[in-house]
Symmetry: C2
Subunit: 672 residues, 2 copies
């Protein structure tokens, strides 16, 4: 079958690479046709670059996909998922069978519409929400650099490669990632940009006309341009990018979206819809592709499988180097990657607990968090901290996590800058890379800025800790733009995220302990600016926060009313309960640091804690969602709407989050 | 009192400007001292630039703050609020009294910690969440350009000035705004960048080392640098920025944060804390400032008041030009600004309603939204549309809103690019500017990306319409990253936002009608990808969606169970109800397109709709929050967690959102 002339000219530049790339194109075309939906354009345009990367550069071993020192490959333009599935299938990843490719985008298949972390080996990260792939890759590259500094370049020395499109560069988070990567000089981060001039709404010129190379140079990047269909040029460009070790690299690939399609190449028609039977056939003809659908010619298949084991010797050598290490180093390295707790952790925790009970403290829970970090981080070298430019407010910096991560020395504390979304995605990258338990701070209200990355932490099941301080109107004078109202509810609504709002120093330590143990669940701490008394005074080893909710005070026998409170309002509820008891009522106060953990308890336990007396909830936040535990929102002492600018005490008074308000409602509801 | 030498050198560059700027510095120092909290550093550093801008360039009339053709001044670094309050007070805005300044950050004062739109005249936008001020200003500048094209430059010809700091440039949304402004060549947008090299966590070099001028040039901006304390140089730079009409302008001001403070200038200590009594005194001494706290020397006060009325003649001339316009033009111009509905609107609406009842249609609600827009936008020239690069999916483009907004011609449809957050903030800018009812589309799941701008729409009370399509697992194959789960709950939790999830073409039209009438409330439409039958078949003028919820079907007499559903699940609930009735049960189906509107109804109405039979909720979303209307989350037929990639019908089956599941639960709950 004769090739189209223009295509033949490209093919002639590197015939072998072209032929291998055609396998990727054909699989993408066939899978999208079979699914009757999907995105063929980007895989067809990026196939040549993918072939070069996997053939010549990417360090991996398809038979040992978890090899810790493999290069990471991130498909930031996740809609191009068939490119990744094709690569994994062709190079011989065992779980990526032809059946899976045939079942692209179908129920139960590992070949979802966008790559889903955990579905298949070789999917390093869930992508699709644009801009987050590159931002997560920045975290991976930071992790690589830090881990290399800790364990040596003979064990840790790999690149992070990213494919991305215009969308990732238009999204603000893309710029946050670019700026941070340039600032920290991530020389092993190499980004291949699918500069195809096409976006969903038409040519990119409709909305995007900036000089991307100049922007990235301004941010400290090494930038090259390259014909994205010329295997030789691609090889040279990637080699040059690797040679530049002090700056992250961007290679802008001039590509044709839907490369090969006679009727649709270079148009947005090929971005997000199947080619259609006729055009699919015409495309294969134009590419000189004669194999049946889903069939790979034997020779090309063999070549691809050889690529898949190209790294086997490297991996074996690496295994040998690891084996040659002193046992203590080897064990620690493997412990870090396996997420096991270190030997010293339990002792550090026990000591911290004992100290709290020995010397009760009134403190803001953000301060309590800092105390917990001070106590635990010396035992946990995997913890790597940071803040989105609010260190002094979030109190995320502690002596063991104090060395600044700079381009010269990758320390344990990262100045993420005023880049909440970039920070959250980078933390996901740390967790995905392995070897780290990242935590990072901002104000709770700015969880809005990084919300989709928190969602991805949950969707991927990553042990990332969000330290979100200034968790209510208790923030005071900065006013309504800075006071979270709907945030507790909106975060509790995210599946798979554990949200904590601890009441005192003890609960805060307990919350940290849970977060540290749960390396496959993200945790979010909502912490106060203002001081709270220590309510938990009875020494004991049991982590009550792990139950999600428990009776923290009981006044009198039985219950006329139950007060459920979280965070700073637990102390307020205790005050109100005491006063109510003074007036003859029996009152239980339930501290509820985590709804999610409470829901995970047995029905019996939950029934005992909730009791059968009328219930009132107290939380200085919006009332939305509390009807899970109380009869109506009238039984919630909380915020009716946005906050205001004034000192915190005044705000509590004006918005009626007071002992008196709790008591009044309790008297109204109480039995008998 | 002798001035510090370095300060004296700056003062000598433009003594008059320096003296006027000192008034701003002194007020900021005093107010922050009095409040015992706040941010003195930026006002002190930017005072000279502010003085030049207000003295020489800003077109305004303090006695007529609402003059539509005034220049807009946006303080994107909102923590510098005292700079704005000082300017408003000194130039004679009547509501900004000295008492208000004295009560900075106190309960009831209009001088909140961050500028709050609506608190005082001259506060053009609520700022504080970084990056959004500049992004909102881009919307204002777009609005100015479009309104000028519609009504002529003799009525609309003003600039949009923005002050911002490093934080706004680090936030991703800042880049989205910069990129869009450069792309569309917003020549009347002039940004003054407080390049003070200090951020909360210390020197900006900790996290920010890019070449900002080069980045902005790459994005098509006109860039200058300037001594931020040299009044003459500032004047020249602003003049040059105005002279450049084809590109937005950035002036990078080399400034000293906390300028004047002998002990703290140039350090982050002065960013967000009072100077302290001694340092405040030393600062005033260094500045040569001898007046008592909160006192402005008479001569300087008079000079500032003169600045405040500098624009009065211009304004009068503008009034005359407006008065000279033909009455129809004048009336229409004023109508646009007053947000009144045009004469033709009711007829267009009535015709659209009639058409739906005459020819019932099965259609996706996103398609229904497009039909509503087709019918209504010809009558509403104030409606300006767009999408974050998902036009063909959001169906936001219609014949009357089809002309692309380009740098050559400001049309009615904006290609916002893959910039959801930038789009949302720009829509806020359109609404704030006046003359427009903006709407813009993206996928519902990506409400995450623009969430804080939605919050600001609500906090400011702006008539902005978010068109969020692909509102559930009904999105199908794109999988869990693209399927909203927690989004309905998390949006319903935002105070002041009206969230709609209409069930069919009629409810969708009704939702649009409500959104169009409510010009001081933001609306968010959650719209389906997949088709739904038309359920509302009885002709009539009453907008039932305005009630938030109503009985859409009643099967049998009385109620054994009530099914509450939203959006695409209303049809499913009707099917289940019909089948249950076939088995002898009496069932009411409640369609609930908007929780917020339902809550605004009388208790009587709500009780009637809810009934006293057991209730089941049906919504293809997370269950969080539904306990407001049903006894427990077990009574919600919804999503237990994240979605999956597969065709939509299969997902509904697998996740158990089916007629059978509704029936089974109903039978379990139903009374005797």
């Amino acid at each position: 079958m004769p090739m189209d002339n223009a295509i033949a000219a490209k093919a002639a530049l590197d015939p072998q690479n072209f032929a291998l790339a055609n396998c990727l194109r054909a699989l993408a075309i066939d899978a999208v046709e079979a699914a009757k939906s999907g995105h063929p354009g980007a895989p067809m345009g990026m196939a040549d670059a993918a072939a070069v990367l996997f053939r010549k550069h990417l360090k991996f071993d398809a038979k040992n996909p978890g090899w810790p020192d493999r290069d990471r490959f991130v498909l930031s333009n996740g809609h191009a998922s068939m490119l990744l599935y094709g690569l994994l299938h062709l190079t011989g990843y065992e779980d990526m069978t032809l059946d899976q490719i045939r079942n692209f985008r179908q129920w139960g298949a590992i070949t979802a519409g966008h790559p889903e972390y955990g579905h298949a080996q070789g999917i390093e990260v869930t992508t699709g929400p644009l801009g987050q792939g590159i931002a997560t890759a920045v975290g991976m590259a930071l992790a690589e650099q830090r881990l290399a500094a800790e364990f040596g370049a003979d064990l840790v020395d790999h690149h992070t490669y990213v494919f991305l499109g215009d969308g990732c560069l238009q999204e603000g988070i893309g710029q946050e990632a670019i700026s941070l990567a340039g600032h920290l000089g991530l020389g092993k981060l190499i980004v291949l940009y699918d500069d195809n001039a096409i976006t969903i709404d038409g040519p990119t010129s409709v909305s995007f006309s900036e000089d991307v190379p100049a922007r990235l140079r301004a941010c400290g990047w090494h930038v090259q341009s390259c014909d994205g269909h010329d295997g030789q040029a691609l090889d040279a460009a990637i080699a040059a990018a690797k040679a530049e070790t002090a700056k992250p690299s961007l290679i802008a690939l001039k590509t044709v979206i839907g490369f090969g399609s006679p009727g649709k190449a270079g148009t947005y028609a090929v971005h997000g819809a199947p080619l259609g039977t006729a055009e699919a056939e015409a495309t294969k003809a134009a590419l000189g592709w004669t194999a049946a659908p889903f069939e790979i010619p034997a020779e090309l298949g063999a070549e691809w499988r050889a690529i898949g084991v190209r790294g086997a010797a490297d991996r074996a050598a690496w295994e040998a180097r690891l084996a040659a290490r002193p046992e203590s180093e080897r064990t620690e390295f493997l412990r870090r990657l396996s997420c096991d707790l270190p030997a010293g952790y339990e002792a550090a925790l026990a000591k911290a607990r004992a100290t709290l009970f020995a010397q009760p403290k009134k403190a803001a829970t953000r301060k309590a968090s800092q105390m917990a970090l001070e106590a635990l981080t010396p035992a946990l070298p995997e913890m790597i901290g940071g803040s989105a430019d609010l260190t002094g407010s979030n109190l995320t910096r502690v002596p063991a996590v104090d060395s600044q991560y700079t381009r010269e020395a990758p320390g344990r504390y990262i100045g993420y800058g005023v880049r909440e979304f970039g920070m959250a995605a980078a933390m996901n990258g740390f967790a995905l890379h392995g070897g780290f338990l990242p935590y990072g701070g901002t104000f709770l209200v700015f969880s809005d800025y990084c919300r989709n990355a928190i969602r991805l932490s949950a969707l991927m099941g990553l042990g990332v800790v969000y330290v979100m301080t200034h968790d209510s109107i208790g923030l005071g004078e900065d006013g309504p733009t800075h006071q979270p109202i709907e945030h507790m509810a909106s975060l509790r609504a995210i599946p798979g995220l554990t949200v904590f709002r601890p009441a005192d120093v003890v609960e805060t330590l307990e919350a940290w302990d849970i977060a540290i143990r749960n390396r496959h669940v993200p945790s979010l701490m909502a912490l106060s600016r203002q001081d709270v008394p220590q309510l938990r005074l009875e020494a004991g080893a049991e982590n009550l926060t792990a139950k999600g909710a428990y009776v923290i005070r009981q006044f009198g026998e039985g219950r006329d009313v139950t007060l459920i409170a979280t965070g700073t309002e637990v102390a307020l509820a205790v005050e109100a309960a005491e006063a109510l008891h003074g007036e003859g009522m029996a009152v239980a106060v339930v501290s509820m640091p985590s709804w999610e953990l409470f829901e995970a308890q047995s029905a019996e336990y939950r029934a005992i804690v909730m009791g059968d007396a009328p219930r009132i909830a107290v939380e200085a936040a919006g009332k939305f969602g509390w009807t899970r535990y109380v009869a109506s929102e009238d039984d919630v002492i909380g915020m009716p709407g946005f906050g205001a600018s004034a000192p915190a005490e005044r705000l509590y008074q004006e918005f009626g989050i007071t002992k008196e308000a709790i008591m009044a409602r309790a008297k109204l509801l109480a039995r008998g």
